[in-house]
């Protein structure tokens, strides 16, 4: 099962569709995704939002900033591509595997809920071997849960967790 990427050529940015597909293919195998993936890149904006539509095919909508090298504007970063596609694909897998039926759609998640889920997601990506700056995600979690020892303890619990349900994840977040 190979990933499809659109567009194949870019005019706003210097991205490589083949690189994107190769990185995504690796993630699909590593995460055990069971259906085709299509990635649509919006190169008209430097923002970095991601969203997914789940059907027989998983369609990822990625703004160009999500795949960009922050050192070299308009150029692609393989590391950023892997981390950010990994984040959205892993959240998608959570929804597909069950236990996350109670999770609101992505666009209705509160910032606090999103930060908790992101922490749980990125912690697992780090254990898969992706290069992750944990402090970046701790800072994001603190911004949403407070700069306290209790928030840090919740972050550590989510970061090292596996097999959580939405209810368990939300309980950890809400307890702070």
């Amino acid at each position: 099962m190979s990933t499809t990427v659109a567009p194949q050529t870019f005019r706003f940015v210097k991205f490589d569709a083949a690189l994107t597909a190769r990185v995504a293919d690796g993630l699909v195998v590593a995460l055990g995704i069971d259906r085709p993936v299509c990635i649509e890149i919006d190169e008209t904006t430097p923002l970095a939002r991601l969203r997914a539509d789940i059907g027989d095919t998983i369609t990822i909508y990625a703004e160009s900033g999500a795949l960009e090298d922050s050192k070299r504007p308009r150029e692609q970063s393989e590391t950023a591509t892997a981390i950010n596609l990994g984040r959205i694909l892993l959240r998608t897998r959570d929804r597909l595997l069950g236990g996350f039926g109670g999770a609101p759609p992505d666009d209705q998640l509160a910032l606090r809920q999103m930060a908790a889920w992101e922490t749980y997601t990125v912690g697992r990506l780090a254990r898969l071997g992706l290069t992750i700056n944990q402090q970046r995600w701790r800072y994001n979690f603190r911004n949403r849960h407070g700069f306290t020892d209790a928030a840090d303890a919740a972050f550590d619990e989510l970061w090292s967790a596996g097999g959580l349900t939405w209810g368990e994840l939300e309980a950890i977040s809400s307890a702070v």
Partner: protein, 283 residues
């Protein structure tokens, strides 16, 4: 030791990647071009309730970090590039001005260290983002009075706006270190602006032509430092104009209004530039 050091030869290790203002503004994605208008948030102001707040704050913090390095280099160069004298000619500056620049270099060095620690706290790495070298370029004028206008009044004025935005961000997010550090650095920046204003007035007291030229240069730099509308009263700009702290730094109401107008014009220019870049790409 060499005088009038070119921007291309600033000492940086392999972690840094530099771009200039033209490269930054040539990014057709940067402007609010027609194709993307409907997809953007209503306000771009940097506040914690933005979904991308953490990453946006980390990016701005890195911008502050490299800005402090360049401000340190600029103040240091002004101490060294000119002979000690009356300051009435463009190749001399009074010794007391050099002392002020030395004090500023000391402040900026402290700000660099604080910025490194704040970046670490926020989860960024040194050199993680491109370094725009426009700040140092403004500090390369052959006339020290133009440097005071460009660096101390325009650049350090921008620093007042940036630090105020970051201080408010830290306060709203409940980040005790960010709020505290930005407040202390803000106090230094107000002093730097005041030093620039005082020296500019003193040195050009009997040379209205030179003063006029310096203030015109400041206006140009203010427009450049609006970073194509990154700083303005408009909520389309991530950074607001810190009117109160500018007043404390010695800006008159008229001067603040002029900067506000220039900043809004820069925002409009950037939109036009981005549209033109897009059309050039298509062509």
């Amino acid at each position: 030791m060499r005088k009038f050091f070119p921007v291309e030869e600033l000492a940086r290790d392999s972690r840094f990647s530099q771009i200039n203002m033209r490269q930054a503004q040539a990014d057709p994605r940067s402007g609010l071009v027609n194709e993307t208008v409907g997809k953007r948030p209503k306000t771009n102001r940097l506040t914690p309730d933005r979904a991308d707040a953490s990453d946006a704050a980390r990016s701005l913090m890195h911008g502050i970090f490299v800005g402090e390095i360049q401000a340190l280099e600029g103040a240091g160069r002004t101490c060294h590039d000119f002979e000690t004298g009356s300051g009435q000619s463009t190749d001399t500056v009074p010794f007391a001005l050099k002392l002020d620049m030395a004090r500023q270099a000391w402040d900026e060095a402290r700000h660099v260290e604080i910025s490194v620690k704040l970046s670490d706290w926020m989860g960024s790495e040194i050199g993680q983002y491109a370094e725009n070298t426009v700040l140092f370029e403004v500090a390369c004028s052959n006339d020290p009075v133009l440097r005071l206008a460009g660096v101390n009044r325009a650049l350090e004025g921008l620093a007042i706006d940036v630090f105020t935005t970051m201080k408010e961000f830290g306060d709203l997010a409940g980040d005790p270190y960010l709020e505290f550090c930005e407040d202390w650095m803000l106090a230094d920046e107000v002093t730097h602006v005041k030093m620039g204003s005082d020296w500019l007035r003193r040195i050009t007291e009997h040379d209205p032509e030179r003063r006029k030229k310096a203030l015109e240069f400041q206006s140009v730099v203010d427009k450049i430092f609006s970073f194509g509308g990154t700083r303005s009263d408009s909520t389309e700009s991530p950074i607001g104009l810190a009117r109160r702290f500018r007043e404390l730094a010695g800006f008159t109401d008229t001067e603040v209004e002029q900067i506000a107008e220039v900043s809004l014009a820069a925002l409009e220019d950037r939109k036009a530039f981005a549209t033109a870049s897009l059309q050039a790409t298509d062509g």
